[in-house]
Symmetry: C2
Subunit: 247 residues, 2 copies
């Protein structure tokens, strides 16, 4: 749509606001940063900030997206280094933590809403679906590019399960107060082999029924029985962290 440069005026403004916001969040924390501050730092009016971001929360979703892009860049072709499943998984998760490190406190906000089924910020929300899909696809790459042979019960769901594992690591990281988050890296190194072993034994006759059941319950969560999911709605951020939209 743009004639020459690929960043329209609007995109530039949007970036400016996001930059200002992330900078303030990082130095002052999320709660102590006001939309007025953000607008001022970006050199725009408050109303204009809201023109680009429906709410303060939406800035976090934008951060999430940018962070994912960063991760992709850092990860780059690092995965090409090995075909060993454990090593690949370890690389992905470690680089994920690396790239999010400057924003550890801000990242808690994401998990703060993860538990809220109605928050658009939740990694499980429809609004986050595209991003979640990309993250899971990345996990699929970890599996597919490896020499690992997966049992058929697990094949379809393994990437998503691994993504849940990744979420668990990040949850730990967010709480991790050790120097340089050393505990988190230790956790990764300790648990990756366990995950590997679990995937290995999942096909054993004693374990298989359990795996089937667990995977089945996952499916139920994905497809709510009372489901509505307004097809058109996406990432418009009509409501914040709390209850239903109303005002």
């Amino acid at each position: 749509m743009e004639p020459a440069g690929r960043t329209s005026k609007g995109e530039q403004t949007r970036e400016r606001i996001l930059d200002a916001a992330l900078d303030l969040f990082r130095t002052q924390g999320y709660a102590d940063t006001t939309m007025r501050q953000i607008a001022q730092a970006a050199g725009v009016a408050v109303g204009n900030a809201y023109y680009y971001f429906a709410s303060k929360d939406q800035l976090i979703l934008a951060f999430y997206e940018r962070n994912h892009a960063d991760h992709l860049a850092v990860l780059g072709s690092a995965l090409d280094g090995t075909k060993e499943f454990g090593e690949r998984l370890r690389t992905l998760v470690r680089t994920k933590v690396d790239s999010a490190m400057p924003y550890r406190r801000l990242s808690t906000k994401l998990f703060t809403s993860a538990a809220d089924p109605e928050s658009p910020l939740s990694p499980f929300s429809p609004e986050s679906a595209p991003l979640r899909g990309e993250a899971i696809a990345l996990m699929a790459e970890v599996v597919d590019g490896s020499s690992l042979r997966v049992g058929k019960d697990l094949r379809d769901d393994l990437p998503e399960l691994l993504w849940l594992y990744e979420m668990g690591v990040i949850l730990y990281w967010v709480h991790d107060s050790s120097e340089g988050c050393a505990n988190t890296y230790a956790l990764i190194d300790k648990t990756v082999p366990i995950v590997e072993r679990l995937v290995g034994i999942a096909k054993l006759p004693v374990i298989r029924p359990m795996v089937r059941e667990l995977v089945g319950m996952l499916d139920e969560l994905r497809m709510p029985t009372t489901g509505e999911l307004p097809v058109g709605a996406r990432a418009t951020g009509e409501y914040g962290l709390d209850d239903a939209p109303k005002r």
Copy 2:
């Protein structure tokens, strides 16, 4: 301290405010209920509501406490019925869900903050410690009163691990949109046997090192390496859901 009746005037007022708040939360949701509404419904001035509850959030903590008391009452001597571990665990978790059922939406607020290490509302916060302790003690009762024999690696930490399992179930429940939350009850019935089996195999030579490692990492989270934990501070609710206190 009171002469005759065991509820002083202040306690009555406090209850009145809490009743009004929970009622409004249940019918309108948390976000759409204002402190002004609560005060009016309770027949007090806004300032008075804040005299008893330092913040809107603190009302949720109070709800949490009341709900635990309800659970205790409902559970009553139900545990005396059997010495079978799985049955006891199942009873505890099912009754927990039962007693919280009318406040499912409100309960999400708790989990919304569970992931935030700094929220006083988090089940893991120092402010919630007394309540958490009671819940874990209840779990210990489930174990101790049963015929289950626990391996020594696990003995000390099992109640806490089971409490984490209970938290997991509640997290599922909060997201569960099935009719009457039938899926949650199904989840309990399916997973309790798995938990039972896991406890059983924890002492096997192949598994034991894994158990040790996992329990060790739990300990690390409990005792943050950079720990401060101001000893005096408790349940005063100086800050809300967000970052550090400041104002």
